[in-house]
Symmetry: D2
Subunit: 292 residues, 4 copies
């Protein structure tokens, strides 16, 4: 076995200096940090030397100097999302997973986002489009986008993202985007700008906390000839993972936001046109039951 | 503007011969087919000439010879999933989105799956790992895997998948996989094989319809030193997207399956070892509420 | 044992002529009818003689002349609700149970209802207040109330109900009612009439299908000095009752309506009064978690 | 108007000495107490004289000596339930409402319960059967039942309840009960005793926190010839009652318990009988959708 193969294998077995690593306690206290020669992690339950971790396989149990147990793990996207430093509400993994599916996100695509917020969803998008993909993220609050930029840099995904401080009321600079996601309180104000930025047949999505906002957005979508409109919400319920006493946890997140998806289409008789006697395209109510 | 740019732009604006296209009626009847010179699509509401579609932008409304309306759209992954030809229960987009997040799937990875089933989840995996990624899918029923193979070929993702007819009781042929997903009734029987196939710190997931199966799996996971065990279920509720009468649909899918995720770890004192006086690693109950 | 005791015991053991009885097949086809000398029940699976049932204990399995199995049961309130002959959407047991609790319904009370509809909720109210209680039910559509009247008569609860054909816009005839329930699309139009009809500190409730209606009602409630406003929805999920394969049913009812409850109060500074610098009474968000 | 009528009306307008009253702050801090001449209520926000309340109509806003606002309300059953002094988990209103419906509880009935616990469900039962009804409640822990007894006395419903310190393994003392409810971890051990105590065709219900317990109970129910078995769970989701920002609360109770209902029947060929070639009665899966 050559040295190069050797090194590659080691690299996939143990963390190396410069890697982002995660130590998680059995009670799920987690520490995410970059492995640095000579550095040490201070926890409430003792100290761990970074150097000691380079000879531990991923997945190993390690002990602090006080004997407290931790597991050495690669930080997953979901860990990064949940640890995103933030000054705003961030999006939840339960919603992000479904949004990525509904926006049809794939490696190599170009996705537009506004606003950037703390960058949690930006992270998920950058992760999903891969090194060949590109994210452009708009925000009007500079200090907010700076936080997002730092969050992306910390997880080494900032190369995939173009950050812009700009009000999208004046339009996106890009066209032919594969998808546009709006995480803003008033997405109905930007439906024309969104259409102009999307490739023909592209994907539009947004998240809104209140029913009142959904009502206003629906009006806008039909007025602007979007079709296949879908409104939904996702509820995630955890169970206590105890074999002999299996039951849901006592409490759960009841609401994060309503998800709305639509596609801009070109109607032969747009709403408002004089000859238009037909109602706007009927809304999508695809039954997830059908695959059953 | 050069001819090449021109062509590239056209290609992203209108479908071309050989493209997979989708015609969707306002009531969500959908036809997915490959655009072929001289061919025609027969629907219950009239005929549409393939040739006519090459000059329509994606997103356009088109009419059958009887005047029925359809929209010309690129088939999205979710459309392909819902249209998967199948002889078994397939996985739902609501679950797939969250599973992809929890297994930490990203472009370029190598993911193992057993069984192949009808290939719906295989399609989602192949889509998500991109052209640089690789999926290896095990199945014991040859005719089933043939169906999956055809489903993957139809959507031109078969190059990313290695299909194997083999019982994983004798182990996976691969090691260092980024993640393993088991869609089998008895995943507890393959936890050692799964550990052997995963990279250190890799991701394990499965879906099970009944609480009895979850109970058995949980026992197995603790016995085999998996940690960070999570059991959950995802409920997706659609709303009627009507602005002035916003309300959930009358009925919904109540259950598809319980999702179980875990990580194989290396315990200093594995369960069963003589010196083991500590309980197995406490199960994960990460609160999705924390990001709030 | 005297004959009288004997008869009393028999009466609680076997049905008697004049009783409302129910035959339910193992697949839950149900027939509710009044036991009549010489009559016979025709089912798709054979004939059953009423006379034969008088010697069967409640809970017995009986056979049709074709040998099909049925169970002889007293019709419960929930059976009567689900079998209510109707021309409108009726209320569901899951909602009725919680509404009765929230309206504080008890034996002997006087409850007002508008509109009567098909009388399903009227039946539940009449059942709950007992022989000493009284229900007054308003409706503007005479043919609708006639149907309700027949439904109540069929289950012998009509003595407890006063039916009125009258628009409550001009007010209820009654005062000091224990509770008022409005099952109307525009309850916000009747909040003053409701207050006038309620005893001091009485209970108000209604059910509305859309979020838009809830929004309008909330505005009205605060304007009319109602407090302790609660908006909620109840989801009922059934499981397949199979011991070795316990799991939820595949599909469920996703929505019937939003339930809204409130109490008319006497504010020292009602909204709109010149000296009113404080906001209206904060809405109730009692956490059901607290009893845990 | 005679003085007697006058007094009756006053009595329904204002609280009188000896009445159980409730003062609730706008933020839902609640104080339930019995109105006593000369007594005073001490709150964190000031003192209120009992005597002052006798001239306030129910529903009035009253002020503490520090000017803090409270509303004077009759305590409802739901308030009493949520305020039950307890040493155990108590049942939730969302479950109680549905259980009362499923057990077919009505004024004048006789209901059996085991165990008594802290008496919250006992209170709801006593409330619902009225002054003509009767509850018999079994418990093995004397100190627990004493607490329940005090809780019932406090709300003046103890006359309707017979408390017994006895293990139901040796059977209930009563027969011909209208319904039996078991709030015990092992209801499967008492199914014969329950059948013996129920009237023919009577109603059985219980609540269990884990799926494992449900599995065991289901086995027992079929073995003991119970039919029309129903397993369900009820989820209650509250909304923030804010007109212009209508949305669910952030968090909710995710699980209290699984509800199981069944009816003891008399099978022509009980399970285990030699001639029994048919499976036990198919479980109930009544679709709540049917009334829609």
């Amino acid at each position: 076995m050559t040295e190069i193969t050797m090194s590659a294998e080691l690299s996939s077995t143990c963390p190396q200096y410069g890697d982002l690593v995660q130590l998680v306690s059995p009670t799920n206290k987690r520490h995410i940090f970059r492995l640095t020669p000579g550095a040490q992690l201070q926890t409430h339950r003792g100290v761990i030397q970074h150097d000691d971790l380079t000879s531990c396989a991923w997945g190993s149990e390690v002990l602090s100097h006080q004997g407290s147990s931790y597991f050495l793990l690669q930080p997953a996207l979901i860990d990064l999302l949940l640890e995103t430093k933030r000054s705003t509400q961030i999006m939840y993994p339960k919603d992000i997973g479904y949004i990525l599916i509904k926006l049809n996100v794939a490696p190599g695509q170009h996705i537009l986002e506004a606003g950037t917020g703390s960058g949690a969803f930006t992270t998920a998008l950058a992760w999903s489009v891969g090194a060949q993909g590109r994210i452009t993220s708009y925000e009007v609050r500079a200090e907010m986008q700076n936080l997002a930029r730092k969050n992306l840099a910390r997880v080494e995904l900032e190369d995939r993202v173009t950050f812009k401080i700009k009000d999208i009321a004046t339009g996106f600079d890009e066209t032919h985007a594969d998808a546009v996601f709006l995480d803003l309180p008033n997405p109905h104000d930007y439906l024309r700008q969104t259409r102009a930025a999307l490739k023909p047949g592209g994907y539009f999505g947004c998240i809104l906390p209140t029913t009142n906002q959904v009502t206003i957005l629906l009006d806008g979508l039909y007025k602007e000839s979007y079709a296949f409109v879908e409104v939904c919400e996702i509820m995630l319920r955890f169970y206590k993972p105890v074999s002999e006493r299996l039951r849901p946890t006592d409490r759960m997140v009841a609401h994060t936001g309503y998800l709305i998806f639509a596609r801009p289409v070109n109607l032969l008789h747009p709403p408002g046109a004089p000859s238009d006697s037909t109602p706007p395209v009927e809304a999508e109510e695809r039954d997830e039951g059908s695959p059953g």
